[in-house]
């Protein structure tokens, strides 16, 4: 079942989607323009309220466990693409607060910060993103002075709490990406409404094209897959609807030259 509440794919939360994003070709041919891109300062903001402790499909693994793993994978991947990207960490309960404020490209310090991530007991029943945006805007000015751009990656876990924010309409000082982990929709929750609120926030505050992914079926590898898609550099992104990655690396069966079909030619050299 999918709910269409906005134009375009972004408004549709795919309840079963695993493999696919839009499979159409990206609009227009890709060109690599000779314009400099900036190194990134990436601020993770992880939801640490009770729902982050919901178990994934893998027994004994909570959402927070997978999120920690995903962050480590992300940071390692990002640094292997470019060792000059940097990372900092914040948490979200009722509002956002710093976990590790200094941006750093050192993997060891990321490991330490991730270890320090722990859930709080109870739920406030609220998620106010305003302070997160304030902190991000403040950091964005500092990043900009160092010729960097700031990105927030918000990882949110609540199925019934719609986040809200108050933010001036034209202040787009940083890019916002969202990864949303939730329960299957039912009579007692509203993940679609939460998703819509996250989309609203993203579209309002994000400087460059922000990406949002969601998953309701609790597979860690789905989370890792979506987080990998967030590796893409904001200044080189296409609109999310046109995303065509990851591409499957599969050889097509060879054209039949002998009238034989399905001859699988392997490159042996």
């Amino acid at each position: 079942m999918s709910y269409l509440t906005k134009e375009g794919q972004r408004g549709e939360m795919k309840m079963e989607g695993i493999e696919g994003d839009a499979s159409e070709e990206g609009a227009g041919r890709y060109t690599l323009k000779p314009t400099r891109i900036n190194n990134e300062d990436i601020m993770f903001c992880v939801d640490v309220e009770a729902e982050s402790l919901v178990e994934m499909k893998t027994v004994g693994v909570t959402r927070l466990d997978s999120i920690k793993q995903a962050i480590l994978l992300f940071v390692n991947s990002k640094l292997s693409i470019n060792p000059d990207h940097r990372f900092a960490f914040a948490t979200l309960s009722k509002s956002a607060s710093w976990l590790r404020k200094e941006f750093s490209s050192d993997v060891e310090s990321t490991i330490a910060a991730v270890r320090a991530l722990s859930a709080i007991t109870g739920s406030s029943g609220q998620a106010d993103l305003t302070n997160l945006f304030r902190l991000a805007a403040h950091e964005a000015k500092k990043s900009s002075a160092q010729n960097r751009i700031l990105r927030v990656i918000l990882i949110y876990c609540r199925s019934s709490v719609r986040p809200h924010h108050q933010w001036p309409v034209n202040q787009k000082l940083f890019t916002l990406d969202v990864m949303y982990l939730h329960d299957k929709p039912g009579p007692d929750n509203c993940p679609q409404a939460v998703y819509d609120a996250l989309v609203d926030a993203l579209e309002q505050v994000s400087e460059y094209e922000g990406y949002i992914h969601e998953s309701g079926h609790g597979l860690p590898r789905t989370l890792f897959r979506f987080m990998s898609m967030l590796l893409s550099h904001p200044q080189q992104r296409c609109p999310q609807d046109d995303c065509d990655i990851p591409k499957p690396l599969m050889k097509k069966p060879a054209e039949s030259t002998n009238g034989e079909d399905n001859v699988h030619v392997s490159t042996s050299q």
């Binding site: 000779p34 292997s80 591409k247």
Partner: protein, 382 residues
């Protein structure tokens, strides 16, 4: 780099120096000269100043207790004869002398530009001092060489003498009057990139009938490597009886061609990256100025991984190096699973770009199965 612990006036001057000196200047050995128990701040450090393709080390000694005074500068032990305030002049040096005097006597510790002015002035004087020393060397061949290249701008020279080392004269000759920075679209270089020829002559022999060739080495500013590697340049041979005035134009002409070619290769790499996208999708990130690397996200079943492409400056003669990295596997120590650097696979620079792309795609389709197996063997997929 932050300089906590310096009184603000020193910090301001040091920052200004580091940000505005035309070449990379380094700072080390920051200490405090004062008695630490009085809480006196740091006030002395060593500067490594680029000169003649090497560094000269000068100690800069402020005195935090007397902030209005200019710093003292202590030169290296080899340069006992370097007295910038007392240099007797060849013509024009009378002006230099008074300039240094003015900088010091007119010292304003609140002006952040002063240290830079002082160091630049001293370095200019050091250059003259070395030039004079080299000119005094009793070696006919060297005197001849110097006379033929003296008119070239920007040559720095250095005479080294030590108890154990034989005397040698080193020349740093900037080559090619090209503004390489301007040739690169979106150029990120803060400093102009330059190529130098280092020429080292032994000293002390009388003019032989066939003077031996000097030691030659090409050097460049570091950032140039993104565009062009001097390691790939084969220096033209120094023929018997040659002199620098004959050798240099020959070398420069060849270098100019190579630099121009290197610039044209940027767009060759750019086109190739673009040609990969129909098969590999849009890259996660690609180097937009030098096009030396691009990373894509790929899948093999439910296994998702990164594909890194690394292009040398010799592409397409040299094929891209590839590396796979899992987006799902990480060792307990926090090390991601990567393939080795893959450099041997079917390749010909004469193929059409689309064929290059297809062949790499096919190769990686096979290789990714091996890689997936390797990742899962040591650690089951989540």
């Amino acid at each position: 780099m932050s300089f906590d612990g310096f009184p603000p006036f020193i910090s301001a001057q040091l920052h200004y120096l580091l940000n505005h000196f035309p070449d990379k200047i380094k700072v080390e050995q920051v200490v405090s000269g004062g008695n630490k128990s009085y809480g006196v701040g740091l006030d002395r450090f060593t500067l490594l100043i680029p000169y003649c393709l090497d560094y000269i080390k000068w100690d800069v000694i402020y005195n935090a207790e007397f902030p209005l005074a200019p710093p003292d500068i202590i030169f290296g032990p080899e340069d006992e004869d370097f007295h910038p305030l007392h240099m007797t002049g060849a013509e024009g040096e009378g002006d230099l002398k008074s300039l240094t005097r003015n900088i010091l006597s007119d010292w304003n510790n609140k002006d952040p530009t002063r240290l830079l002015a002082l160091i630049q002035e001293m370095r200019d004087q050091y250059m003259s001092y070395q030039r004079k020393r080299v000119g005094e060397v009793d070696d006919d061949r060297l005197k001849f060489e110097i006379s033929t290249i003296c008119s070239r701008e920007g040559i720095e020279m250095h005479i080294s003498s030590g108890a154990e080392k034989p005397e040698e004269v080193k020349f740093a000759v900037p080559l090619m009057d090209m503004n390489i920075n301007k040739m690169v679209h979106g150029c990120p270089w803060r400093h102009p990139q330059k190529i130098y020829l280092q020429v080292i002559y032994p000293v002390g022999r009388k003019y032989a009938s066939t003077p031996s060739a000097p030691r030659l080495k090409l050097m460049s500013t570091i950032e140039l490597r993104a565009l062009f590697s001097i390691d790939d340049v084969k220096l033209p041979s120094w023929l018997d009886g040659m002199c620098m005035a004959e050798y240099l134009p020959h070398l420069e002409e060849s270098l100019q061609k190579q630099v121009l070619e290197a610039v044209s290769l940027i767009d060759i790499r750019r086109c190739f990256i673009e040609a990969l996208t129909p098969l590999f999708g849009r890259p996660l990130e690609a180097d937009p100025v030098f096009c030396r690397k691009a990373t894509f996200l790929a899948s093999s079943g439910s296994f998702v991984f990164l594909v890194h492409f690394l292009f040398s400056t010799q592409f397409p003669k040299q094929q891209p190096a590839l590396m796979l990295q899992s987006s799902q596997h990480i060792s307990p120590q926090g090390v991601p699973k990567k393939s080795p650097l893959l450099t041997e696979y079917p390749w010909s620079p004469r193929w059409e770009v689309s064929q290059m792309s297809e062949r790499i795609f096919d190769f990686l389709a096979d290789e990714s199965l091996n890689f997936k197996r390797f990742c899962n063997e040591s650690q089951p997929q989540h």
